[in-house]
Symmetry: C2
Subunit: 344 residues, 2 copies
């Protein structure tokens, strides 16, 4: 594990890479009481050449610095921490698995560590990075999930912190998730406002494919604003989809007539699209699963049907999975893929 | 410190009272990543007889169990934990200070401790209680504070967790508080919605005194719903004020014509009351300060004036402070005051 302490008087301390071990925290440490904590998630993938590659670590560092500022934590030079993460992956290179779909999951975290029960800016912060090999998310093939659209619990709100990757956005999601599971659904679909605007799926960004009357396939995701997490996979899908739509780089499997929109959709609009046959597909995106197909949404006592291919993937979902995995493993050359030099 | 571990398979473990010491936490402990943490704050006061007294610990235990359920943590028998807290205070009796206004601050906390980066219900939880002597909040007399009514950041929202005492409600308040301080204000006044509804003050409940055209003094606080923390001091002030209003127990210093309302007020209504002279006073309430008087509110570029007595207290604030402190120290006999038997 990598640790870098910070103190408001002495600044950043010396980074250390050391064996995984428990953290010793004073019982009054602020993180245990007021939840000053933020995290990131990224993966190292071994390609056919045996080289571990990070996927867009600059995006994680950029988002981590935004989160840090929101918690009155110190910010840092993203490239420097990326270098240290590369060093950690280099040391742990034997732990990066090689089977298709496997990777080393990397978890950068920052917590407020000073002792004292006053609510205020952190005077002591620990940045630490841990890692763990993870298996393929879809070890038994692609299984689309059913979502429960809750009209009771609300994940994020304007003026809140839903657009930052803070620990405090996650704890309250567990009980709604349990309630959805008890009703037979795998994930929560988070709505907002009296119009039941679609926002996120569980801990993933949300995507909807809509067939326009003009024969154009539209890929829709909610605009970032301050309620939507700026996902790295979200950004990657947007870039790939826009390049296809503009003709800059066409993707096999997507129709020529294709547009991409960052705009809001409501549940009533989705219900209507399901009924009149213009709903093409729905999926979530995130670092853990990359994409996750949806084949139904429980909403106000009814199951809204969502089309899904026989392989468990919608057309856009299938193409995006292929294109992103290709760039993660190095099979598709891309500046998004950052190799770790294990011979240094 | 008191510690009680819980595991989803084995249930509650044996409570231990042991010397204050760091907690050893796996770096992947859920509390450090997804913020499953809740806390309470209560105080032990030594009366003139030298006996430490807890103030309404049953209310803290009730609220703590509500918070625990909201985080999918185990619940517990409040009376049992109160007994253990009494035992802790008994052992720490020499640490309970005796000067007027001083007390032993007691912090019950629950955190999710299991190792693992999945977001889900906690399988391991630690309930711990720490304590620290605290000085008088107003060591240099009563200084009214100026509030900054922010129209940018929002503390809580319908369908969120603002009505539960979760750690996750606190981390995001630090930056707005810093911004208010930079503008010369001591605390944030949290607003909600386009109508700028008043909700809370910093980490305190909010109270407004209004002079009615009929000569009746009205004490107003926002209704609990799901955005307002159910404060123990809030509940105590409501009970005292209602008993005065109904004539059940009159309080010297308050006018006979007096009503109490749990209802919403907006900033435009407060501005109008300040202008037309019907605003009597504004104060916050909480365990730390008991009450905190306000003498001005910065709102949309203007300073809204709030009346305040020459002693730094409004009429209602002064009476409530006296009545609550009297019950905390045992000077006013009350079932709210729970003595700790230090001779057992």
């Amino acid at each position: 594990m990598l640790t870098i302490p910070w103190n408001s008087t002495t600044g950043w301390g010396t980074p250390k890479i050391q064996p995984y071990a428990p953290l010793q925290l004073d019982p009054s440490s602020t993180v245990l009481h007021y939840a000053p904590t933020l995290f990131e998630g990224l993966k190292a993938y071994k390609g056919k050449d045996g080289v571990p590659r990070l996927f867009r670590p600059d995006k994680n560092m950029e988002r981590m610095n935004r989160s840090a500022a929101r918690l009155a934590f110190p910010t840092f030079t993203g490239d420097n921490v990326t270098q240290l993460i590369k060093k950690l992956v280099e040391i742990d290179a034997d732990w990066v698995p090689t089977d298709p779909g496997t990777s080393l999951y990397i978890r950068p975290t920052m917590i407020g560590t000073q002792a004292g029960l006053g609510v205020g800016a952190s005077t002591d912060v620990l940045l630490f990075v841990i890692a763990s090999p993870v298996g393929p998310y879809y070890s038994t093939g692609f299984k689309p999930v059913k979502l429960y659209a809750t009209t009771k619990d609300v994940r994020a709100w304007p003026g809140g912190t839903g657009g930052y990757k803070l620990g405090s956005n996650y704890a309250a999601g567990v009980v709604p998730q349990q309630q959805a599971a008890a009703l037979g659904y795998q994930q929560i679909l988070w709505l907002f406002g009296p119009e039941h605007r679609l926002t996120e799926v569980g801990t993933m960004n949300l995507w909807v494919g809509l067939k326009g009357t003009d024969g154009v396939l539209e890929l829709v995701t909610p605009p970032l604003e301050d309620m939507i997490l700026p996902g790295v996979t979200r950004d990657s899908i947007l870039a790939l989809a826009r390049d296809h739509a503009s003709g800059k780089r066409k993707l096999a499997g997507l129709p020529d007539k294709f547009t991409v929109s960052e705009r809001n959709l409501t549940m009533p609009e989705l219900v209507e699209a399901s009924r009149n046959g213009t709903l093409a597909e729905v999926f979530g995106s995130g670092t853990a699963a990359i994409v996750s197909s949806v084949d139904g949404i429980g909403y106000e006592g009814e199951l809204v049907k969502v089309p899904c291919g026989e392989d468990g993937l919608g057309d856009i979902t299938r193409v995006m999975l292929r294109e992103i995995v290709g760039r993660q493993t190095g099979d598709i050359p891309s500046e998004w893929s950052v190799p770790v030099d294990t011979k240094a």
